[in-house]
C-alpha cells in the first residue's frame, strides 16, 4: 500500500466488511428458517385453504402457516383471517 492509498483508505473510515457481515447475518437467518420447514407446507396450506373456501370465501393471503422449531418441539401455527361479513359462501 503506497502513501496515496494510505490516505485514501483512512479517509474512507470504516470498510465494507461490516456491511457484508450485516447482510450475511440477515440472509443466513432467513435461509436457515426456510430450510428447516417441512417440504409439505405449501401443499398443506393450499389444501387447508380449499377446505375453508368450501364454507367461507377467503383470499390466499388470509391463511398463514408458520413453522417453528424449539428444541425437540415443532410448532405448526395456523392463522386464518376471516372476512368481516363471514357467512356461508
Amino acid at each position: 500500500m503506497g502513501l496515496i492509498d494510505y490516505f485514501r483508505s483512512s479517509r474512507r473510515g470504516k470498510g465494507s466488511a461490516s456491511v457484508a457481515k450485516e447482510r450475511l447475518q440477515i440472509l443466513v437467518a432467513h435461509d436457515r428458517a426456510a430450510r428447516d420447514r417441512p417440504s409439505y407446507l405449501p401443499k398443506l396450506k393450499q389444501e387447508i385453504l380449499d377446505v375453508i373456501r368450501k364454507y367461507v370465501q377467503v383470499d390466499m393471503d388470509a391463511v398463514s402457516v408458520n413453522y417453528e422449531q424449539e428444541g425437540d418441539q415443532e410448532v405448526l401455527e395456523l392463522n386464518i383471517v376471516l372476512p368481516d361479513s363471514a357467512g356461508p359462501a
Binding site: G2, L3, G15
Partner: protein, 269 residues
C-alpha cells in the same frame, strides 16, 4: 474402516482441490494410508494439482463400470508412501456416478486405507451430492466474501439432510470450517470479513485459516501440493490444519498483517 472426508464449498474457485491435495498429503506424511478421489467428472483437476496428470490410465468411472479394477486406476504418489490418487473421468457424463457404484468403490477402498479424501465439484448438483453422501467428516472451504459464505451455509443444510448419515438417522457428519484466501491486511482495514465474522455467521468449528498466498499458485504451477512447501505461510497453515484435524490443539497463525517498515509503508506494494 477408513474415515471418509469430503472437501466441499458450494461456490467454485475457493480452494477445494488445493485443500483436498494438501490434506491428503498431510495425512499420508503422518503415516496414514490415504487415498484422494476427484469427484468432478468431466472437469478433472486434482491430477494436475497432485502432479500426476501424465500417469492417468483408468479413472473413477472406469472402476464403477467394471472396466478396470481399483489397483489399475489408483495412482501411487511418488513423493509420499501410502498416498494414492483416484482421478475423475474427463469425458463421461456426470450421471456416471451412481450412489451404489460410489458406495462399492468407497467400501473397497475402506479396507486398505485409513482416510479417504473426497474432492467435491462446485455446485449442488449430482457430483457434489455424491461426494458428500458417504462422508463422516466435512471440510467446508470458505472465502471471506459474501457469496462464498452464503453458499457454504447452503452446503451445511444439504450435508445435514442429504447424506447417508442423515438418511439413516446416524450421528451427523462432523462439519469443519476452513477459511482460505485470507488477507489480514484487508481485514485490518475493514475491507474483508474477519475469521470471527465468518465463524459467527456459520457457527462451525474452525479447522484452519489459509492466508491468500503466492505459494498456492506456485505449488499448483509445479503440481506439488502446497503443504510440501514447509517454508511458506500457506504450506504451514495447511500443515497446522491437518494436525488440528487429527486432534492437536494449535493456535491459528497468519491472522495478523505483517509488520512493514517505514519505507515499505510509504512506497511498498
Amino acid at each position: 474402516m477408513a474415515r471418509i472426508i469430503v472437501i466441499t464449498s458450494g461456490k467454485g474457485g475457493v480452494g477445494k482441490t488445493t485443500t483436498a491435495a494438501a490434506m491428503a498429503m498431510g495425512l499420508a506424511q503422518r503415516g496414514h494410508r490415504t487415498v484422494v478421489i476427484d469427484f468432478d467428472v468431466g472437469l478433472r483437476n486434482l491430477d494436475l494439482i497432485m502432479g500426476c496428470e501424465r500417469r492417468v490410465v483408468y479413472d473413477f468411472v472406469n472402476v464403477i463400470n467394471g472396466e478396470a479394477n481399483l489397483n489399475q486406476a489408483l495412482i501411487r504418489d511418488k513423493r509420499c508412501d501410502g498416498l494414492f490418487v483416484l482421478p475423475a473421468s474427463q469425458t463421461r457424463d456426470k450421471d456416471a456416478l451412481s450412489t451404489e457404484g460410489v458406495g462399492k468403490v468407497l467400501e473397497e477402498l475402506s479396507k486398505g486405507h485409513d482416510y479417504i479424501v473426497c474432492d467435491s465439484p462446485a455446485g449442488i448438483e449430482h457430483g457434489a451430492t455424491m461426494a458428500m453422501y458417504y462422508a463422516d467428516d466435512a471440510v467446508v472451504v470458505t472465502n471471506p466474501e459474501v457469496s462464498s459464505v452464503r453458499d457454504s451455509d447452503r452446503m451445511l443444510g444439504i450435508l445435514s439432510s442429504k447424506s447417508r448419515r442423515a438418511e439413516q438417522n446416524e450421528e451427523p457428519i462432523r462439519e469443519h470450517l476452513l477459511l482460505t484466501r485470507y488477507a489480514p491486511e484487508r481485514v485490518a482495514r475493514g475491507e474483508m470479513l474477519s475469521v470471527d465474522d465468518v465463524q459467527e455467521i456459520l457457527s462451525l468449528k474452525l479447522l484452519g485459516v489459509i492466508p491468500d498466498s503466492q505459494a498456492v499458485l506456485n505449488a499448483s504451477n509445479a503440481g506439488n501440493p502446497v503443504i510440501l512447501d514447509k517454508n511458506t505461510d500457506a504450506g504451514q497453515a495447511y500443515d497446522d490444519m491437518v494436525s488440528r484435524y487429527l486432534g492437536e490443539e494449535l493456535p491459528m497463525r497468519f491472522l495478523e498483517p505483517e509488520k512493514k517498515g517505514l519505507f515499505n509503508r510509504l512506497f511498498g506494494g
